[in-house]
Amino acid sequence: LAHGAGGRATHTLIEAVFLESFRNPMLETLEDGAVADGLAFTTDAFVVTPLFFPGGDIGDLAVNGTVNDLAMCGARPRYLSAGFILEEGFPVADLRRVTASMAEAARRAGVWIVTGDTKVVERGKADGCYITTSGVGTLDRPVRLSAASARPGDAVIVSGPIGEHGITVMLARGELDIEADLCSDTAPLNALVDVLLDACGGGEGGDGGAVRCLRDATRGGVATIVNEIAEASRVAVVLDEDAVPVRPAVRGACELLGIDPLYVACEGRMVAVVAGDSAEAALAALRSHPLGSDAAIIGRINDDPPGLVLLRTSFGGTRIVDLLVGDPLPRIC
């Protein structure tokens, strides 16, 4: 199995195994969460090395990840469950640190962790601590957000500088011996989503709002998210390289590592597709919130070529930003 990077291989795995086995209309949408009967439901498993890194740890990732998946459905996150798989010998002090940050993250997001489970496996059978969270949210607004709703003329907005989480974790592994002034961007996005939907309304639901689609740019980064949108909506996403916000420390580390920041994971950034004529209003709303102060319009939706993401480079060229099959590998001969 080489299906970890969140790219095409993960998709293939999901479609070939899980969708095949569990097929039903709700799963088939492959959205971040399922929506029915006024409720949104989602689940996520968390594995990260190292467990503690500047700006966060596996605990707040586990809470924020599920909170954000619910928020991306337009739901108000309410209740979470938490499952722990612990390796024998995992220090109790570390577990306390993890649960403390989960509690803090839950408080910040306004959700309760209401149920849970713990298993301890033999030494060597797990890497310290794995966490699974599931969450329920209520659909208090008449919105319908979907990766399949993007239309030509829409704007693509990112809520802040990208790539900080992924690069922070990579550097925190300590093998690279690089000092960088960086923290993970892990954060709950539900309040930011509220601000945006209050200003613009969402989807084709009751209020005819302007927000078509929200996605948190986790594994595979912004590049993967916009590819999913391009594919699901059968539209082209055209990004403007110079408009994508990237902090200098992230840019520097990406340059050193030869990694394109568009593919680096975030844990507190979302991509919003918004009707073109509401783009400025959406941007202003996002910027009014601390988590969206550096939001930027990074591109637009075109009708042609459907299913592809193009990047207009600083030199005026048009590069294809493809869904990666696995880890990035050089392609130049």
Binding site: L176, I178, L256, G317, D322, P330, C333
Partner: protein, 796 residues
């Protein structure tokens, strides 16, 4: 039957297949038949030329011989089949009307440079086509780039919108005329119109988009009038030459796209062109009016002159004469110059009037594909060209100039495109099912194959660019339609991220096509085998930048035991990490860091200049390599050249693919005989060249005071000797006596000649490329050969 005066008459039906349309074949048949007093007819259909001929047996036999022996210069006859049929006793020999049908096995001719007859008319003041920029005949002129569909008839070309005048029509219909059925025939009264448009750089006006856009339409002028632009009645060639003489940049519409031209003796103009093309660092090609002018710039032998004057008119890379009168900025740091002779009437007129060498480079910004649609060219080149020399005959297919390297054993193709594509190459074993081979990623071509024919496409370019990807997919559709090929088998590279691989995988709907993956370096070696019409097994040396290996690492310094069907990896260069993946390709100094770390570990001298130049970045890059973060292992020979170029201070970064490696070759003293020693070790099943030995020798020789020219040469020689020793080892192990050399690194003539010599000294036979490039432009041909060979055996 018969006349009673001589032997009995016989009648035969003859079918001729090959490149026999649009090349004056029917007039040839017609005049031959009349000379031999045969009766019958000749015609074109979608399979080629059909003939019925009746006469005395001896005359019919002569006729059959003459079909081949006296065929017009551009015809390429692949098959003649003859069937005896009953005599009809008809009189006279006529040309029958073209017949349609649904078998499309006609071959499409490549574009052909202006022939001597047309050239004579072009410069003859008494001729009605004197200075006509579109003069052509059945022996020359545009073909592939103007064909929209087959059969090859005027309405199916971009000349379809130009109605012939009476005089042209008479020539077109006269079987004894050189222009009989010359589809692009025209004259000043009825042909396309050349004009010079201002590039709009001198004032604040927007670029002249309007006229350009209207040119795209395809030329039908409903009112029959000449839509001459501003400056009507003026001489566009004269005005264009004035632009060049004044140091301006001129965009010129050629056969397969727009070129950018400047006076090649004008240092300032050449620099301006480089800066307007955006950091362009590649050497520029130079067009000279004739061979005499070529001889003044470069050293030419008979072979070089043959290449330069051939009907394909490629760019030929030739040794530059010391003191040759061209600006330094044309090809900095290169001892060679790419020369080309004019290949269309427009270029002939321009070159003759300028009477100086002229830079002719592709009309694009750095890394973009060449512009070929008028509106697009005017928009994209508006900030680059001071003026546009353009016309209203649309280009249907983009085709870049072909490039050849004059090498010891004959011409080595570096890019096979205009003038060559889509002429088929022989494929053996023939394809059982039709094949589409999708090629690689950079310098991409694709290949369609049917039976014994492999049609390697024109140069498509680097697929990461959307425009290029589109010309890849549209190019496949176009050629498929022209040739009537529906592939049942699709071959592709194994690299999961190549857009060509993804394209191939996307074609697979159940039951429609079968896919076959071909490892990159196997495809290189197969392309060399097929290029030499062999099928192996051989010892294959595949040295290139990189390709995806079957073990998930990046290969590029490989020794394979291979035939067309399969291969085993038998040897390689010792692998090192590529720190930062693609970044290590753009920054050769990173490869120096990786190779020096592999050679010296932590004992690397601090004061080594390449290390000192990069300060703390050096240690960071070494840490990235050591951690293995985004640092795949590679056995690439190209990356080893990069590393050595950086160690010698020749290039720390690369503005284009292969730049550092080319700098290393151009720096090397070809007369130097010394060679560094590299040990050869068995690592599991792989015979491995210790690249670290070469790297240490480079460092130590340099520290001992050897000049870069000597060090570079000793490195080349050392690698050649080591590679030859590996081949000799493999010969002893396998009993194989032939070595095939392929991969982009073999564009390096010093290494190619050195290794060829070293192999021959060891009694090995050497195969090198003839028709397709050793670089990734040849990969699609290799994939097609592998797919066909596997299919013949029923293998997946």
């Amino acid at each position: 039957m018969g006349t009673g005066r001589g032997p009995a008459r016989i009648r035969v039906r003859i079918r001729v297949e090959g490149i026999v349309q649009g090349v004056g074949f029917r007039p040839h048949v017609h005049s031959l038949a009349r000379r031999l007093r045969l009766s019958g007819w000749v015609g074109n259909d979608d399979r080629g030329v059909f003939i019925e001929a009746e006469g005395e047996p001896g005359d019919v036999a002569c006729f059959r011989e003459g079909l081949r022996d006296q065929a017009p210069p551009l015809a390429a006859i692949h098959r003649v089949t003859t069937t005896a049929i009953p005599v009809r006793g008809d009189r006279g020999f006529r040309i029958a009307a073209s017949q349609g049908g649904n078998h499309r096995v006609t071959l499409v001719s490549p574009d052909v440079a202006t022939c001597d007859d047309c050239l004579a008319e072009l410069f003859d003041p008494a001729d009605r086509r004197h200075r006509h920029p579109f003069v052509n005949c059945t022996n020359c002129g545009p073909r592939f780039t103007i064909i929209r569909d087959v059969p090859y008839d005027r309405p199916a070309t971009t000349m379809g919108g130009f109605a012939m005048c009476g005089e042209c029509e008479r020539e077109y219909l006269d079987p004894s005329d050189r222009r009989f059925h010359a589809q692009p025939i025209c004259c000043p009264a009825c042909g396309p119109v050349l004009r010079l448009l201002d590039g709009g750089l001198h004032d604040d006006d927007p670029p002249p988009r309007g006229p350009g856009d209207s040119l795209d339409g395809g030329g039908p002028r409903s009112d029959g009038a000449h839509a001459r632009g501003p400056g009507d009645g003026a001489d566009p060639i004269g005005a264009a030459v004035e632009v060049l003489r004044a140091g301006g940049v001129l965009a010129v519409k050629g056969l397969g796209g727009y070129h950018l031209a400047v006076d090649a003796t004008d240092e300032e103009a050449t620099r301006v062109l480089r800066s307007r093309k955006h950091r362009e660092e590649r050497p520029f090609a130079v067009m000279v009016p004739d061979l005499r002018a070529a001889r003044a710039l470069c050293e030419l032998d008979a072979e070089a002159e043959r290449l330069l004057t051939g009907p394909q008119r490629p760019i030929v890379l030739l040794p530059r004469r010391p003191g040759a009168e061209v600006a330094g900025a044309v090809a900095p740091g290169d001892r060679r110059l790419g020369l080309m002779l004019p290949y269309t009437p427009v270029h002939h007129l321009l070159a003759a009037e300028l009477a100086r060498p002229c830079v002719l480079t592709s009309g694009n910004l750095s890394d973009e594909p060449i512009a070929y649609r008028d509106g697009d060219a005017l928009a994209r080149l508006a900030g680059v060209a001071d003026a546009f020399l353009t016309h209203d005959r649309p280009i249907h297919v983009r085709a870049d100039d072909s490039v050849l390297l004059a090498a010891r054993g004959g011409a080595l193709p570096l890019r096979r495109s205009r003038g060559y594509a889509p002429e088929p190459l022989r494929l053996s074993p023939p394809a059982r099912r039709a094949v589409l081979a999708c090629g690689a990623e950079l310098k991409s071509t694709f290949c369609l194959a049917r039976q014994g024919h492999a049609f390697v496409s024109h140069h498509i370019g680097d697929l990461e660019n959307y425009e290029t990807l589109r010309s890849f997919t549209e190019g496949i559709e176009h050629l498929r339609r022209l040739l009537g090929i529906t592939p049942g088998l699709v071959a592709h590279d194994l690299h999961p991220e190549y857009l060509s691989t993804k394209y191939a995988l996307g074609l697979e709907t159940p039951g429609s096509v079968d896919l076959t993956g071909v490892q990159h370096h196997h495809a290189h070696i197969a392309s060399c085998l097929a290029d030499n019409r062999e099928s192996g097994p051989v010892i294959g040396v595949a040295f290139d930048g990189l390709g995806y290996g079957t073990d998930g690492t990046i290969w590029g310094g490989e020794f394979l035991v291979a035939d067309l069907v399969g291969f085993t990896r038998a040897g390689r260069l010792a692998p090192v990490p590529m720190p930062g993946g693609t970044a290590a390709i753009r920054q050769p100094w990173r490869m120096a860091a990786a190779h020096l770390h592999a050679a010296y570990g932590d004992g690397l001298p601090e004061d080594l200049p390449v290390r000192a130049r990069h300060g703390h970045r050096w240690d960071e890059v070494v840490a990235v390599a050591r951690a293995g973060t985004n640092s795949p292992l590679t056995s690439s020979a190209g990356r080893l050249f990069d590393a050595v170029a950086a160690i010698l201070g020749l290039r720390d970064t690369a503005g284009y693919e292969g730049q550092a490696a080319i700098a290393l070759e151009q720096c090397a003293d070809p007369t130097e005989q010394g060679a560094y020693q590299a040990r050869i070790a068995d690592e599991g099943p792989l015979v491995t060249i210790r690249a670290a030995d070469l790297v240490r020798a480079v460092v130590e020789d340099t520290r001992a005071g050897a000049v870069p020219a000597r060090v570079a040469a000793r490195f080349h020689n050392g690698l050649a000797v080591a590679a030859a020793r590996v081949c000799a080892r493999l010969r002893d192990d396998t009993g194989l006596g032939t070595v095939a050399l392929s991969g982009g690194v073999f564009q390096n003539r010093l290494l190619l000649d050195g290794l060829t010599t070293a192999l021959r000294l060891r009694g090995l036979r050497v195969l090198t490329h003839r028709a397709v490039p050793p670089n990734d432009g040849g990969v699609s041909f290799g994939q097609a050969a592998v797919a066909a060979a596997r299919d013949t055996l029923g293998l997946p």
